[in-house]
Amino acid sequence: MAAQGARSETILVVGGGIAGITTAVEAAEAGAEVVLVERGPSLGGRVAQLSRYFPKLCHPTCGLEINYQRIRGNRRLRVITMATVAAVTGDRGAYTARIETRPRHVTARCTGCGDCARASQTRVPNPYNYDLDTVPAAHLAHPMAYPMRYVIADSVIGTPEADRIEAACRYGAVDLGEEPGAFDMVVGAVVWATGWRPYDAAKLQPYGYERHANVITNVEMERLAATTGPTLGQILRPSDAKPAKRVAMIQCAGSRDHNHLPYCSRICCLASLKHAAYLREAYADAEVDIYYIDIRAHDKLESFHARIKADPRVRFIKSKPASISENEAGDPVLHGEDTLTRDLYETAYDMVVLAIGMAPTAGDAMPEAALETDEYGFIVAAETLGGGMFSAGVAAGPLDVSLSVQSATAAALKAIQAVRGG
């Protein structure tokens, strides 16, 4: 345990997604000492799993690349991956944070040469692609991984596979004996940027996400559209790898629903507009139907809405579909009421995309009682526990990327004020 009362001007940032990265880099570039802790093997978080951003349809990896460069070029910023914050005690200017690490089984000697992956014979589920495919037991988290260092799946430790992998490394970078660890760190302020997870689609029973192969979620759609995804960027439906040309998007799949997420997740409308753009780009004859309650293209994003709406092959249907069945061809069939024509429809599609909402993960990341959350699990009263605790990005509320960056940049300043006793 670090000496009580020890003071520190270091800022601890929890979570290595776009919000955490931004908080860390902006604070460090303003002169602060920063430690960035990420649960997984690489930085990047959810944005690294997106194919493109709305409304510019540009690639998240482009901004990530710049941020990685900023991180590499900054000595005041230290990144710890495979680590979580188990507890925080103390006060602003003198918190003691308990950091717990999980074994990566690959040391800093790793050059990223990939021999270990080539030697792997076991394949494990690939969370980067939401388990839509698999990767070798020794793998890189994703092509834009930071650090550019491999990781070995715990599942193969103690098997011959592990020995194969170890033998394949020419740089003695494999450490099969690595154990989970824990250490204390004295920091002056903590910024929680713990992000979100997609709401569990299986809970939307009438939509049969688990029963119908061709009902997928919006985050899975991102992976289908990504050149680094399981289909190398071709939008093919799961059941028979046939091009998905007639596609329905169901908005508020979980959001704005007292049975699920009572709040509006804000990004889903725009994400679906973007998915419509993906499909129209991929197939000249693609047809997209967007089922919605209200299209929430806030502020300047309205022009993106207008642009997609102008496409005659994208239809907007004001309706929350009641249920999805499946026909002989394995096509999902939507049932519901078009509230503007008052017709009851029964429409078959190649594929249906559920615009799943964002569920905060602060709950699982947070040490007990450290922070106060609202009824939905978003961090509020961010200045509780000694006035040096802040939240950034989706941990603070359902935000899009730009808003997350704003919130993260603001959090960086609040944290600097806290450590400098301003």
Binding site: Q205, P206, G208, R211, S323, S325
Partner: protein
């Protein structure tokens, strides 16, 4: 003998137990002791109003019906009330919860009961027999009691609506299953050694009381329910609901007439499956009360004094 202590419940048979769903009542009473369950009837119980009472009777009189049963049950024992009928469950459970949570409703119902010097101020639990089987008895015990596995019997588990909606996934309803894809019925069948078939219209609607008085509006719904079972190769449709059992069974002739089909799909209660699986004879399982004889189940059933 087994040591498991008996579970006591106050039993509400409901009007259909005296007629269209006599075989549900009979088979339930038959399997109860096998599962160490003791049922004591609500003395002088009355009709719950079913799904149409309120229309003519009005909301409060309709609630008062269940109020009287609740008051009577409370005066007998503090035990939970169990019913096998979806409609009875819906009304009695619904009114009971309303009385618990809505002071105004509680006062108005009791004012009415006052006319017969009755009062319901307790907080009993009103539960569906299936929920009790899942939460109190448990699949293991059911499996454990099977002496005559229903080998090779293919069962289409038709849950219908009101057995699960709107209470199965609520706290007061015991959170024993889901609204759109419930598993309990297939689990019952499997526990009895039968084979549940994949069956889509699991929770489709048979038209309920509308089917009773205006089948012309709903025959197509029932047709889908029977057709899917037929196509999936099921030997029988099993259901927990009296009204479903009656609609799906008695209209098959009309369906064949209107749609040119040739359905003779037996529709039995899960409790009849259990009775046979527990080794009781066909009479105890009331198999002779199905309008379309469940031939295969009859064959599987132990013959009397066998």
């Amino acid at each position: 003998m087994r040591e498991t202590p008996k579970k006591r419940y106050t039993y509400y048979p409901g009007c259909s137990s005296l007629g269209s769903a006599a075989h549900l009542d009979k088979s339930l009473r038959a399997i109860a002791p096998e599962l160490d369950v003791e049922l004591e009837d609500i003395e002088d119980w009355n009709c719950c109003g079913a799904s149409v009472g309120h229309v003519e009777g009005g909301a409060l009189p309709n609630m008062a019906l269940s109020g009287r049963n609740l008051a009577q049950a409370a005066s007998q024992a503090p035990d939970d009330i169990v019913t096998g009928c979806a409609s009875c469950y819906l009304n009695t459970h619904g009114v009971n919860e309303k009385i618990k949570t809505d002071i105004r409703a509680r006062r108005r119902v009791n004012e009415a009961l006052g006319a017969a010097d009755l009062c319901y101020d307790d907080d009993l639990q009103v539960r569906h027999a299936c929920e009790v089987l899942v939460n109190d008895v448990g699949l293991d015990v059911i499996r454990d009691r099977v002496r005559n596995p229903l080998d090779g019997l293919e069962v289409a588990g038709y849950v219908g609506c009101q057995t699960v909606r709107p209470f199965a996934d609520t706290d007061s309803g015991g959170r024993y299953d889901t609204y759109d894809d419930p598993a309990f019925l297939d689990n019952f069948a499997a526990a009895c050694g039968a084979e549940p078939v994949a069956y889509d219209p699991k929770t489709a609607c048979c038209g309920g009381s509308v089917s009773v008085h205006s089948p012309d509006k709903t025959l197509h719904l029932i047709k889908e329910i029977v057709a899917a079972a037929h196509d999936s190769g099921a030997d029988v449709i099993a259901t927990p609901c009296p009204l479903c059992q009656q609609n799906v069974e008695m209209y098959q002739a009309a369906i064949n007439k209107r749609f040119g089909t040739d359905f003779h799909m037996p529709v039995v209660f899960y409790s009849q499956l259990m009775a046979v699986a527990f080794g009781l004879d066909g009479t105890a399982a009331a198999l002779d009360q199905n309008m379309i004889p469940p031939a295969k189940l009859v064959d599987l059933a132990k013959k009397p004094n066998e």
